[in-house]
């Protein structure tokens, strides 16, 4: 059990969360807002990793759930005057239903591998285009949250950067613990069995359809809650920003760089990717060379991908010897499934 916790980065995660909880006390600079972004991408990464890292289902349409969560909380508070807590729940419920429908359509009709990925992209794009042309949500003109009044932050869920920092820290901790608990449950073992060989798992009596749908739904709920807090943080919502391909691709970088199929990988990935973006941005600003940030960012990501193909966390785990590197996730492909 102790080895299992070590292997899955439990201690590292505990140390990480304790250190992050102390961060506002020891820093008064821009680190807080950057750390908030790190945590936000960690939440999305953990949620996405649940599907890809553990079940082997590649989704490039997770922006859809971010958007649903974001719009739900914005419309609940802005248009209907409801509590943002209720808005978050509504967003999570809608996301769960949408995810279940997409997953059922996909998996019931054996849409696998890259075709399932295309299905997720298509659904996200369909929703984005619908939102683009839906006046209730502001269409392409966007939806904007009013300035936060004097309401208590815990009621309005709006506050200063420290408030959002702790909000995302708690959310990251909860998603991490949920993910860890799921991994150690029978579902986790079933999911990994599906990832390794779905047909063999089904032959052994694993209810693959239901379990895959469950993974997609849980992943969508986590992502949706992250999206809700993102909307409260940002204050402006556009279908293209929330549900566009850019965001869907951005959120998968951290778990891939961090290490697919590991608990702590998405957090390490976010810890690397976001500050890297900030660093390259700083270099570009200092030199005055526009676009240099994107070049540096891309080049450094390329270096990591080339030299640490399994991701940062497995590489760190190997480096420190005591930890056994987790198995890399393997996306099922039509080719392998056909055999």
């Amino acid at each position: 059990m102790k080895n299992l916790i070590l292997k899955d980065g439990g201690i590292a995660a505990l140390v990480f969360f304790v250190l992050l909880a102390l961060l506002p006390a020891v820093t008064g600079d821009a680190l807080i807002s950057i750390a908030t972004l790190v945590l936000m991408f960690a939440v999305y990464g953990i949620a996405w990793n649940l599907m890809m890292g553990y079940v082997g289902q590649l989704s490039l349409g997770h922006g859809l759930y971010i958007g649903l969560g974001a719009y739900a909380v914005a419309l609940a508070t802005g248009t209907h005057g409801l509590s943002p807590w209720l808005g978050i729940l509504i967003g999570a419920a809608i996301s769960a239903v949408v995810a279940a429908v997409i997953a059922f359509i996909g998996f019931r009709f054996s849409v696998r591998g890259i075709y399932f990925t295309l299905l997720t992209i298509a659904c996200a794009e369909m929703m984005r285009i619908s939102f683009d042309n839906w006046s209730y949500v502001g269409g392409t003109g966007g939806y904007f949250l009013k300035a936060a009044g004097d309401t208590h932050p815990l009621l309005s869920l709006r506050g200063d950067s420290t408030f959002f920092y702790f909000a995302f820290l708690i959310l990251t901790a909860i998603t991490f613990l949920c993910s860890a608990a799921l991994m150690k449950s029978k579902f986790g073992y079933f999911w990994r069995a599906i990832r390794e060989d779905e047909d063999a798992a089904r032959a052994l009596g694993v209810p693959t359809l239901q379990l895959k749908i469950l993974a997609v739904v849980i992943s969508a709920i986590m992502t949706s809650i992250g999206g809700s807090f993102y909307a409260l943080l940002s204050g402006s919502l556009f279908p293209d920003t929330m549900m566009g391909m850019r965001f869907s691709i951005e959120i998968v970088i951290a778990p891939i760089i961090g290490g697919l199929g590991t608990l702590f990988g998405p957090i390490v990935g976010a810890l690397f990717v976001v500050p890297l973006g900030e660093f390259s941005n700083h270099v570009a600003q200092s030199t005055g060379i526009y676009g240099l940030n994107l070049l540096i960012h891309g080049a450094l990501l390329l270096v990591v991908v080339c030299f640490m193909p399994e991701g940062l966390w497995p590489a760190i785990a190997k480096r420190f010897g005591r930890l056994r590197a987790p198995a890399a996730a393997k996306a099922s492909t039509p080719a392998t499934e056909g055999q």
Partner: protein, 405 residues
């Protein structure tokens, strides 16, 4: 006996004065006010973002030359991502910025506004036209730029002035609009104002297209099929180029193409790409005042310094934002954000480079006196052809057919 003042005494006093004068007296004026600038200098809005930055840097240079207040500008790039507006604002505030300028696009501006509202640091908006910006109840924002609705209202007035003074009056118009934040707001405003202004031209169709459209042949064909004599494109730069190219290809020669308050056709990218076919295109936008001698000198000097760049509205309003900020810092006599905020609230600048009335901010933080000029591209250069008080040339109306150029 009274002590006589000798020459030696005077010399001693003079020396003492010189020593005292040489010792720097620490005051607010000796310290630089740190001004944060949030702009999208990379990503999809990189071009206007970079132009805006050039305007800020140029204004900083001019401010120094004029012995304006000490101001240090710290830049932050949003990478054209709305969510980065807040992060950039918080970063700059934590770096000691006591006032901010930015953020060019609406998403990033609203995002930054959340942060400045909490930190109680004023944000002066150089560019950002969505009406919602000043309607969300933010107390720390000041916008020295026209909202889409006011820009469109002025644009309709310009169009009305133009067509009623011509010998031949167009009877119908078609709107081509980019389906994004700006395009939708502009179209909604145009719909509301066109009827109210009693423009004697019927809008026969409104044709939208996706912001990422790679081809507009179908949309232009639809517009041509309406037989409209006036084309009103609400565009960005690339789509404006695509529209004109398609019109040339499809031999669609309306009486005029008039952009009612959208960016793009005054930019060098547009005039360089289209050459003679970009001429006669008209656009209603806030612009620098060519009748203001100082504005003329500033614009000409900029174009000499920045070869290949034009002193257009991104540069102009960013330049003016620095002048507004300098005025506020000077009057605040302090680098305290609250003092700068109070000074910005009482801004009243009569003589400034952009066309319009005095720079003042209403209770929502909006400058209601932004003027809108009617520009027409002439030999690849946007030339002011309206309103009468700042016009530099008579408008070419109807426009020349593309084939005869």
């Amino acid at each position: 006996m009274a002590k006589q003042i000798s020459r030696r005494t005077i010399l001693k006093a003079a020396a003492a004065s010189a020593v005292v004068g040489a010792v720097p007296i620490r005051s607010w004026a000796a310290e630089s006010a740190k001004i944060g600038v949030i702009l999208p200098t990379s990503g999809v809005f990189a071009f206007p973002g970079q132009q805006s930055r050039k305007g800020i840097e140029y204004a900083a240079l001019v401010n120094k030359e004029r012995n304006g207040p000490n101001m240090e500008f710290i830049f932050a790039d949003t990478e054209s991502k709305p969510e980065n507006g807040r992060v950039a604002a918080e970063k700059l505030i934590r770096q000691g910025c006591t006032a901010l300028i930015g953020a060019w696009d609406t998403g990033a501006t609203i995002s930054a506004a959340q942060a400045v509202e909490t930190a109680k640091v004023p944000l002066l908006i150089n560019i950002g036209s969505a009406p919602q910006i000043t309607e969300q109840g933010f107390t720390q924002i000041f916008r020295n730029f026209a909202s889409v609705s006011s820009m469109i209202a002025s644009a309709v007035t310009r169009i009305h002035e133009l067509v009623t003074t011509q010998k031949v009056m167009p009877k119908s118009a078609v709107v081509l609009y980019v389906n994004d934040t700006f395009g939708q707001s502009a179209l909604a405003s145009l719909d509301a104002i066109w009827e109210k202004a009693k423009v004697p031209i019927k809008i026969v169709d409104k044709i939208g297209y996706d912001v990422r459209a790679k081809d507009l042949s179908v949309e232009v064909a639809k517009a041509k099929a309406t037989g409209a004599e006036l084309v009103l494109p609400i565009t960005r730069t690339n789509d404006a180029i695509m529209i004109v190219r398609e019109m040339v290809k499809q031999k669609y020669n309306p009486m005029a193409i008039i952009g009612p308050g959208s960016p793009g056709p005054y930019e060098r990218a547009f005039t360089d790409a289209l050459g003679k076919f970009g001429d006669d295109y008209m656009i209603c936008v806030p612009w620098w005042n060519p009748r203001n001698p100082r504005a003329k000198v500033i614009a000409e000097r900029y174009e000499k310094m920045e070869k290949g760049n034009r002193f257009e509205l991104n540069v102009g309003f960013s330049f003016e934002a620095v002048e507004v900020m300098a005025d506020a810092v000077k009057r605040a006599k302090s680098n305290d954000p609250a003092a700068i905020h109070a000074a910005l609230k009482t801004t009243n600048i009569e003589d400034h480079i952009m066309y319009g009335g005095p720079i003042r901010f209403d209770e929502k933080g909006q400058n209601p006196n932004i003027g809108v000029a009617l520009l027409q591209n002439r030999d690849g250069v946007p030339t002011v052809v309206g309103p009468q008080q700042i016009t530099m040339a008579a408008p070419a109306f109807p426009m020349r057919p593309f084939a005869g150029r």
